[in-house]
Structure formats: C-alpha cells, structure tokens
C-alpha cells in the first residue's frame, strides 16, 4: 500500500478540511466553504461530461435553480431550510431529467447548443419573472440557524456543506465503480457499441443528467445560504466555464480529480478577485493549456508521477498503456 494512494490523499484532505474552522478567519472559512460547494458541482458535472460524455452546458442553470428553489420556498412559502434544501435539489434534478429528453436525440455539438440555449432561457427567467424571482436585483434569503447545536452560522454551514460533499463523493465513487458507471463510460466511448451491449441509452443519459442536476441543486442550496443572497448574475456562462475548467484541470472522468480541480480553481479565482479581465484571461489560458497539453488534468499527472495512485475506471485515455512485450525474432527462431 503506497503512502500517497488516492484514498490516503483524499483522507488527509478531508481531515484538513475538518479542522479548518479551528484556525481559519471568516474570509478563509468562506473560501473553504466555497471550495466544498464547488467540489459538489464539479463531481456532478464530471459524471455528466467526464463519465457519460454528454457535452452539456446547463450546469450553471441547474446550480441557479438549486439556489433559487430553496430560497424562494423559504421566502414565499416560509418553508424551513431543512425542507426547502432537499426540495430545491429535487427540483434541479427534475429539470436535469427534463433536459435529458432532447439529449437522447442530440449528441456532441447539438447537445451543447440546446443546453446553452436552455441555460440562457433559465437566466432570462431569473431576470424577468419579477413577481417570483425579484428580477435583476436579487433578494435576501433568510439565514439558517443551527439553534440547538453550539455552532455559529458560518461554521455550521461549513460542516453541513462538508458532510454533504463527503456523502456525494462516496456516492459518486460507488456509482462510478458500479454497473452504472461502466454503462456511462460505454455510452461515452461509443453509443452504438453500448447499445449493442444492452445499455439503455435513454435510461443512462437521463440518470447522468439527473445525478448532475441533483448535486448542482444541493450546491445551489448551500451557495444561497453561504451568500445569504440570490441574484441572477452568479449563474451565467462564466459560472459554467468555471465549472468546466474545474473538471478539465482536475481530470475528466475522475471523482478525486473533480475535488482537486475545484480547490485549485477556486483558489486561483479568489487570488484574482480584483481583476475580472485577468481572471477571464487566466481561466481561458488554463483551459486551453490543460486541454492541449495535459488532457488527463492533475489526476493524470498524479497517476504518472505518484506511485500507487490507483484510479478506478480510468476516465481519459491519455495514459498510454505499456507497450506489449515484443517478441524477438531470434528467440522465436531459437525455438526447437
């Protein structure tokens, strides 16, 4: 058992994450919480894009629905957060399933376009359905309290996010290692081959969209609580590109990679918070660089350089298989 196996690294990161509130100031805790939320988003998106190979651009919209859903349920119907939070995730999942219906007929670029159009449509609804979503100005979502527990709101929310993220990570690891994950990869690599093996395309595409919608919904609910404010701005195309770059940087088709990529990108983002132009240039450049030169992302590098990084069900095909042992002719000839 190697020291730096995937399991050990993730466990160390988790232990680090558990003790963050003990020494972090308010801002660092905010960033840590943001990272945890983006880990959720990146895992959902990686299942959809990295494993199932569906080039969808609707994740920012799903994130938005997940943020608006619970906040609006709390504001309009005065539901408690503990009901509104899962309900919002369910709504996002339902929308994800709805989007998957055209996805059965569309592939590649056409799917990209239809989901882009959907994302624009969703943002338009956030902006213009004034009576429901309070329009461009956004609105305050009521803060949760962890009343019986001796936790302040930021710390409580952080642990709630962390617990959610750990559960989702474990769930995703298991899904990916199971029959479902293999079906996703089969769909990604060749739809026709997958069908001929008896993989139901509709079912598995819908499942991938549903899972990514659900995790994006969870992330959205936590995000609205983190900011205590919901406005249409946060759920635009830039949001989508942030998430896309997370999974590309971390490694397409890797759950651990999603977590690492999310952390890397959020930290870069926070360091460049002042300059939006520089933020965009750097993101674009990172995206191009990783796609062009490091297709496997961080995980691809780790797999090459860290012994014992055991990645289940390899996502991308960047790591070349060892060349088959060559049969030398003289050996053959020397056979009796």
């Amino acid at each position: 058992m190697a020291l730096f196996s995937r399991r050990n690294v993730l466990a160390i990161l988790l232990m680090f994450a558990l003790v963050v509130p003990a020494f972090a100031n308010a801002y660092h805790l905010f960033v840590a919480n943001l990272i945890v939320i983006y880990v959720l988003l990146a895992i959902g998106l990686n299942i959809l894009v990295g494993y199932a190979g569906q080039l969808a651009f609707a994740n920012a919209a799903m994130f938005g629905i997940g943020a608006y859903g619970p906040a609006l349920l709390q504001v309009h119907l005065s539901w408690p957060f503990y009901l509104a939070f899962p309900a919002g995730a369910m709504v996002a999942m339902a929308v994800g399933l709805m989007i998957s219906l055209p996805a059965l007929r569309l592939s590649g670029l056409y799917l990209a376009l239809s989901t882009l159009a959907f994302a624009q449509f969703a943002q338009w609804v956030f902006l213009h359905w004034d009576t429901m979503t309070f329009g461009a100005g956004g609105f305050k979502s009521p803060p949760i309290s962890f009343a019986p527990l001796p936790l302040s709101k930021p710390v409580g929310l952080y642990y709630l996010s962390l617990i959610t993220a750990v559960c989702v990570t474990l769930f995703a690891q298991n899904v990916v290692a199971s029959r479902i994950g293999r079906a996703f990869v089969a769909v990604r690599d060749s739809e026709i081959a997958a069908q001929s093996l008896g993989v139901d395309l509709l079912k598995y595409k819908a499942l991938a969209f549903g899972i990514s919608g659900f995790t994006a919904g969870l992330a959205g609910g936590l995000y609205s609580q983190l900011l205590n404010f919901v406005s249409p701005e946060g759920f635009d195309l830039f949001q989508m590109v942030i998430q896309k770059s997370m999974i590309v940087v971390g490694g397409l088709g890797s759950i651990a990679g999603s977590a690492l990529g999310a952390a890397a990108i959020v930290i870069i983002l926070e360091l460049l918070r002042e300059a939006k132009g520089a933020q965009e240039v750097l993101f674009g450049a990172v995206l191009i660089f990783f796609v062009t030169f490091l297709r496997g992302g961080i995980v691809g590098m780790l797999r090459q350089h860290l012994r014992g990084w055991d990645e289940p069900l390899r996502g991308t095909r960047t790591v070349k298989a060892k060349p088959a042992p060559q049969v030398r002719f003289d050996e053959k000839e020397s056979l009796p």
Binding site: L109, A112, L113, A117, G277, I288
Partner: protein, 293 residues
C-alpha cells in the same frame, strides 16, 4: 404597417449580421469539423480593433473596416497555430473546451485593454441617424447601410469560394479531405486558412454591427449564440443555410420583441433553437433531403 415594416427591416438587419457570424462558423466547421465557440469573441475583438483605428487614430471608416478584417484574419491564424493545431486528433469535448477557453482569453483581454473606458463604447455611425419616411415605411439609414454591407460581404464571400484558388482549395478539402491531400493540398494550411477566413468575416460583421449596437466586452456571446443558432438552423454545413437561418433568427427576434413583449426579444432565439433541435436536429434545409444512414 409602420410597426411591421420597422420590425421587418430591423429583423433583417440584425439577421444579416447573425448570418455573417454564422457564415464564419460554417466555414470553420466545414473545413475542420470544429465549431468555434470563440467566434463571437473574435467578432467583439475585431469591433474594438476597428474602434481603435477609427476613433482613437482618427482614420476613415474604410480603413477601420480593412483593419478589422485583417486583424480578424491574423487572430484566426494565430489561434489556429497556437491552440488548435495540436488538437486536431482529440475529441469533440476537448475541442469545444479549447475554443471556449479561447473565447475567455479574448474577452478578458478586451476587458483589460478597452474595458476601462466606461465599458460601453459608442461607434460613430456612417450615415445620418435620422430615419427617412418612404410612404408609410420608416427606414433607418444606418440599418440600410449595415444590411447593404452585409449583402456585399456575402456576395464577396460567395465569389471567394467560387472563383479564388484558396476558396476552391477549401471547398475541395471540405468535399473530401483525403482526395484533396492526394492532389497536393496541405490540409494543415487549409485549416489555418479556414480559421483565418472565419475570423475575418467576423471582423467585417463587427464593423457593420458596431454603430448599431454599442461595443462592450460581453457582446460576443449574444452574437455567437444567435449565429450558432442560425448555423444549426441551416444544418451547420451549408453556407446558404447559414444565411437563411440568420435572417430567420433576426426576424423572429424582432417580431417577438415588437408584438409580444420587448423582454421576449432576448429569449425568442433560444426558444426557437430548442424547438428546432427537438423537432429536426439536422437543420431546416435537411427536411428536403433524404436522410443518410
């Protein structure tokens, strides 16, 4: 009648500009199989280049026009050399993400270079801004200029593909890349040429559009997605389809804005895209063709 003619002309004008963006997308897609998600940002960037030449350096409009086209061509060639050449063998996901990355690099650079000047830059109009009444029809000269310019560019583009050597080479490659290699055409150069041409046409469109819409770093995406919609309506592979699709998107947008609600203007194209993709995913022109298996 007044409202209708006004909306129709407005729709045709913006539609013609979407057609130009779509043409750029189709040229690139036809030769290389890539959809350039940075097309809108190339468009925006060329618009800013033209603004610099026209307003900051004070050169005449035709120079700005040429500068935008030349700038677009160079940008297209450079991006192909830097980013896309090494990606020729990867899958759709990688290519799309690379072009998205390029889009953000361009957008961020524009924000860093020009963003400090009030974010919205106005481009001086070529003609007088006063509308002219012809009977009961109102004509905005600036729109007419943009429409006429777009038509001229489309014709020039068609002529380029039909008569010039470079255009013939690109058509040959699009028809059959292997056969083109056999007669001595370098596919790599055709790819570079396609990116350059696609970006150049975006530059031309930007100079026409700039006086009508203000210039701002985020304008590219709106033009891109409408141009993409137009290209998909036309089947993503046909130049004439792209023109028809662009006009259709422009007119639908304008009519929805005029007759339903001005809010609808932003969203009508997206609803149209989703409907078209659900009903006939291979484009409107393909309805008349036999489906190949």
């Amino acid at each position: 009648m007044l409202l209708f003619s006004y909306l129709l002309l407005g729709g045709l004008t913006s539609g013609a500009l979407y057609s130009l963006v779509a043409l750029g997308l189709v040229v690139v897609n036809k030769s290389t199989g890539i959809v350039n998600f940075a097309q809108g940002e190339l468009f925006m960037f060329c618009g800013f280049l033209a603004w610099t030449v026209h307003v900051q350096f004070g050169l005449a409009y035709p120079f700005a026009f040429l500068a935008a086209i030349a700038g677009g061509f160079v940008l297209g060639v450079v991006t192909d050399r830097v980013a896309f050449r090494s990606l020729a063998k990867t899958d759709v996901v990688g290519l799309v993400l690379a072009t998205v990355g390029l889009a953000f690099v361009l957008r961020g650079s524009a924000r860093m270079i020009w963003g400090g000047k009030g974010d919205y830059l106005s481009f001086p109009p070529i003609t007088s801004p006063e509308p002219i009444m012809v009977g009961t029809i109102m004509i905005v000269p600036q729109q007419m200029a943009a429409l006429a310019g777009a038509l001229v560019i489309m014709l020039a583009f068609a002529a380029f593909f039909r008569f010039s050597r470079a255009g013939k080479i690109m058509r040959a490659t699009a028809d059959n890349a292997k056969a083109a290699t056999l007669v001595g055409i370098s596919i790599q150069n055709v790819y570079t040429l396609a990116f350059g041409t696609g970006a150049a046409i975006a530059g031309a469109a930007a100079v026409l559009a700039a006086p009508l819409s203000l210039l701002y770093p985020d304008m590219g995406f709106a033009f891109f997605i409408k141009g993409f919609a137009a290209a998909v309506l036309g089947g993503l592979n046909s130049l004439s389809g792209a023109v028809v699709g662009g006009l259709l998107v422009g007119i639908v947008e304008s009519m929805a804005g005029g007759y339903i609600h001005s809010n609808m203007m932003e969203v009508a194209p997206f609803v149209l895209i989703m409907l078209v993709l659900i009903v006939c995913p291979t484009g409107i022109l393909s309805l008349y063709k036999a489906r190949d298996v």
